[in-house]
């Protein structure tokens, strides 16, 4: 064992690979511990409740490091009856007629405009709908009426999508409201920096009307990984994709290697019709169109990751490796120590597991490690074909979403590059270790 480590140390790529594997594995453990499986699934479903604070298709915050003009981050503020931080409450309620104005002041000193400003309101009332007015007071003192209307029990008002306002301002409302008066109609509008006051006046016509408000501003950057077309935080899929990718790769690689080894050993030991049968199955299987059959299974039956994993293992077991192992086993079968074992009365299964299979381990281990990235990428490939498990957040799914939503065309490179980099790191880590192991265990060429 010590010699083995000494050998490994001779290959710097193996060391780097091992470090990378350790990193990926700790990322997977971190993901599983910090985000429980159910939470990950729920937030990846992309319901309004879990995504309403996120902007749509924006790059991560750290990309600002490479920008001269920084993109703004979003913010939000929940305003209850009593008000909230940064909120001045003016209560003019008189005998049953509720009339409260919330003046939410926020500082806006940025190089660029917000993606959207959204007012979420929930109201409790019996018959008469409450009414609200929205006024924005700019740092230069201009007061502009933005919107007024009645409040449904659950209300969402998005300033960016307000057509009437756009018509009134003549430009995109986010620019119209936040640009300096001089530049608002130019090609390069500039932000009017300063403290804005968003004045929300709520009027209720019943005794116990309750209105809660949340102001959500969507920026143009979000979180450590950005967001996708459904406003989901990409970091969830990046994090949870790690354990899924590792699980798929490891289970498939170990499953295939061990089953292949057992079949090859058993077939060679018993010989005769069993051996012939295994040989014929292998020949047929090697000619089967692997991916189309997986596509067929995925479309006709189920896209569950377990079914796909099972099919992958089944289709990969009878591969060229069986032929290679068989050739070695045929030599091993002739060895004298096998004969000795037979003489002292060892059972068939004992000979196969104790005397034959260990002989092939040096060949098996590099192949096993090298096949892990193949299966990790296979999972991503299937997702790209639209055969990913519909509920799971995976790297391949991210790439597929990004690709089919035109991320490459629209310049949202972060969306594709982030999962791709994780795939590369994982693939490389195992491949580097695998190639080094190949040279350690099969030293035939080192002597030259």
């Amino acid at each position: 064992m010590n010699k083995f480590w000494k050998d490994v140390k001779q290959y710097p790529t193996a060391i780097i690979g091992l470090i990378l594997i350790a990193l990926v594995v700790s990322l997977a453990i971190y993901a599983v511990i910090t985000i429980p499986y159910n939470d990950a699934i729920v937030s990846w479903r992309g319901d309004e409740a879990s995504t309403y604070r996120n902007p749509e298709k924006v790059p991560p915050v750290w990309t600002n490091l490479f920008r001269v003009d920084k993109l703004p981050e979003g913010f939000y503020n929940v305003i209850s009856e009593e008000g909230a931080k940064d909120v001045e409450v003016i209560d003019n309620t008189t005998d049953g007629l509720m009339d409260i104005t919330y003046n939410y002041s926020f500082e806006y000193i940025e190089d660029d405009f917000l993606q959207d400003l959204i007012i979420y309101m929930t109201a409790k009332y019996d018959e008469k709908q409450p009414f609200f007015e929205l006024v924005l007071i700019s740092p230069d003192g201009r007061e502009r009426a933005v919107y007024n209307g009645s409040i449904e029990p659950v209300n969402r008002y998005r300033i960016y999508q307000d057509r009437a306002l756009k018509k009134k301002l003549g430009v995109n409302p986010m620019i119209g409201l936040f640009a300096t008066p001089e530049t608002v109609r130019s090609d390069n509008p500039e932000v009017l920096d300063g403290t804005y006051i968003l004045s929300i006046r709520v009027r209720g016509f019943e005794q116990d009307t309750i209105v809660t408000t949340e102001v959500v501003a969507h920026g143009q950057v979000h979180g450590i990984a950005g967001t996708d077309h459904m406003r989901r935080d990409i970091s969830i899929a990046l994090l949870w994709g790690t354990p899924i990718a590792l699980m798929f790769g490891l289970i498939a690689a170990f499953g295939v290697s061990i089953i292949t080894l057992t079949i090859a050993a058993t077939g060679t030991w018993f010989g005769g019709w069993l051996d012939t049968l295994i040989q014929r199955i292998t020949e047929v299987n090697m000619m089967l169109p692997f991916l189309p059959i997986l596509i067929m299974v995925g479309t006709f039956y189920s896209r569950s990751i377990w079914l796909i994993l099972g099919t992958v293992i089944l289709l990969s077991v009878f591969s060229a490796a069986i032929k290679t192992y068989r050739a070695t086993f045929l030599q091993v079968k002739q060895s004298t120590y096998i004969e000795a074992a037979q003489v002292y009365g060892a059972s068939n299964s004992r000979i196969i597991t104790r005397y034959m299979m260990p002989k092939i381990i040096p060949m098996l281990i590099p192949n096993l490690v090298l096949s892990i990235p193949v299966y990790v990428f296979l999972e991503a490939s299937l997702a790209v074909l639209g055969l990913g498990d519909p509920t799971l957040p995976t790297w391949g799914k991210l790439i597929e979403n990004a690709y089919s939503n035109g991320a490459l065309w629209n310049g949202q490179y972060y969306w594709i590059v982030e999962p791709a980099v994780l795939l590369i790191i994982t693939g490389f880590a195992f491949a580097m270790v695998g190639f080094a192991l190949d040279r350690i265990f099969n030293p035939r060429l080192r002597a030259q």
Binding site: T13, M287, P292, V374, S381, L387, I416, V417, A420
Partner: protein, 372 residues
């Protein structure tokens, strides 16, 4: 290789025997590959029909045909609605009986196998071919040419590129270039579509020098020359991503083959004789290694067909891969089964062609030792 061809042209009795052996070897391979494909297609049918998909397909076809026939029948038009219903049902039962749809599962599956092997899969549910037909056979066959163009270009380039690099590296074993290439071998763990995405990002999105996707500009150029140029421009990225993803692995393993063969005694002997290194390379190392390389190339091409499927999707290349992806999108069962079958055939043909090349280059086949 050249002197062998000369020999066969002259047709001496000796080379006639050689030719006979090659043909016999190829014929045996052809028959065994055909049987293999048959089993493969049968398995495909079984998998599809386990969920009753092939049954449904055939029944839908029968239903539609009968509906057409009955609707044109004047006696049918004067029947009462109830009578019509029973009449139709009876006819349908008869038709099922005639086509053997009431037979047991296994019998049915063999019947489907015969149809599937002839690509006789009826019409698609949603998709149409570019010429407007709904025939599955047409939808698939008209996409064959683009797929073959892409695979052909990629494979030929890859084969000669990898063989040259591998041979050169094996002569410079242990040098800095050699070490550099070997350290790049983990790059082959990434599939071709993955390179494709980065190529699109770099060459199409950022540098804007090559097209994003498709096979031809829209509208297509009028002149033949312009047409060919446009196709070539579109071919560069998908072909290079196929080549690059397979090249590092093949260079690595072929270099190993070359190293094994170049340590043989007869190479040392040739060196001792003072033969020029070019001659040693070609006659004493390349020749004996070729059969091994072709076997490995044959295995690699099977995986490459699968890689091409995804690469075609990423590049919007109008080949078989795009057909099957579109069929998955519209749940067109007949097209999915049909494409799976055609891929089976393509794999078999690929392997057969390489087997034939193998027979040409492997002296053991020619002199009749072993061979299979």
């Amino acid at each position: 290789m050249t002197d062998k061809i000369n020999k066969t042209n002259k047709m001496s009795p000796d080379s006639k025997r050689t030719l006979k052996r090659i043909l016999k070897y190829s014929a045996i391979r052809l028959v065994s590959l055909f049987l293999t494909v048959m089993v493969g297609i049968f398995l495909t049918i079984m998998i599809a029909n386990m969920g009753g998909y092939v049954d449904e397909l055939v029944k839908g076809q029968v239903n539609e045909n009968l509906m057409m026939r009955v609707a044109n029948d004047p006696t049918y038009k004067v029947m009462t609605p109830e009578r019509r219903k029973t009449f139709f049902q009876d006819q349908l039962e008869l038709e099922y009986e005639r086509l053997g749809l009431n037979q047991p599962f296994m019998v049915r599956s063999f019947r489907f196998l015969w149809n599937a092997m002839r690509m006789n899969l009826g019409s698609a549910q949603q998709m149409t071919s570019d010429s407007g037909s709904k025939q599955v056979k047409l939808i698939i066959t008209e996409r064959l040419a683009p797929s073959l163009l892409l695979m052909g270009t990629a494979n030929l380039t890859l084969f000669f590129l990898a063989i040259t690099v591998a041979l050169t590296l094996s002569r410079k074993y242990g040098s800095r270039v050699d070490k550099f290439f070997i350290s790049l071998s983990p790059l082959s763990s990434m599939p071709s579509w993955f390179y494709g995405i980065f190529f699109i990002l770099l060459f199409s999105a950022v540098l804007k020098i090559l097209p994003f996707s498709g096979m031809i500009d829209s509208p297509p150029p009028r002149t033949t020359g312009g047409y060919i140029l446009s196709v070539l421009r579109h071919l560069i990225l998908p072909a290079s991503s196929l080549i690059i993803s397979a090249s590092f692995a093949s260079i690595y393993s072929w270099r190993t083959f070359f190293l094994i063969y170049s340590s043989e005694d007869y190479v040392e002997m040739a060196k001792a004789k003072g033969l020029p290194s070019k001659l040693i390379k070609r006659r004493y190392i390349l020749r004996p290694t070729l059969p091994t390389i072709i076997t490995s190339f044959s295995l690699m091409m099977i995986t490459m067909w699968m890689g091409a499927l995804l690469t075609e999707k990423i590049f919007g290349w109008p080949g078989l891969g795009s057909v099957i992806v579109a069929a998955v999108g519209s749940f067109d069962t007949a097209v999915i089964v049909g494409t799976t079958i055609i891929y089976g055939y393509l794999l078999a043909i690929t392997v057969f062609v390489l087997d034939f090349v193998y027979a040409l280059v492997d002296p053991r086949v020619k002199v009749g030792q072993g061979g299979n």
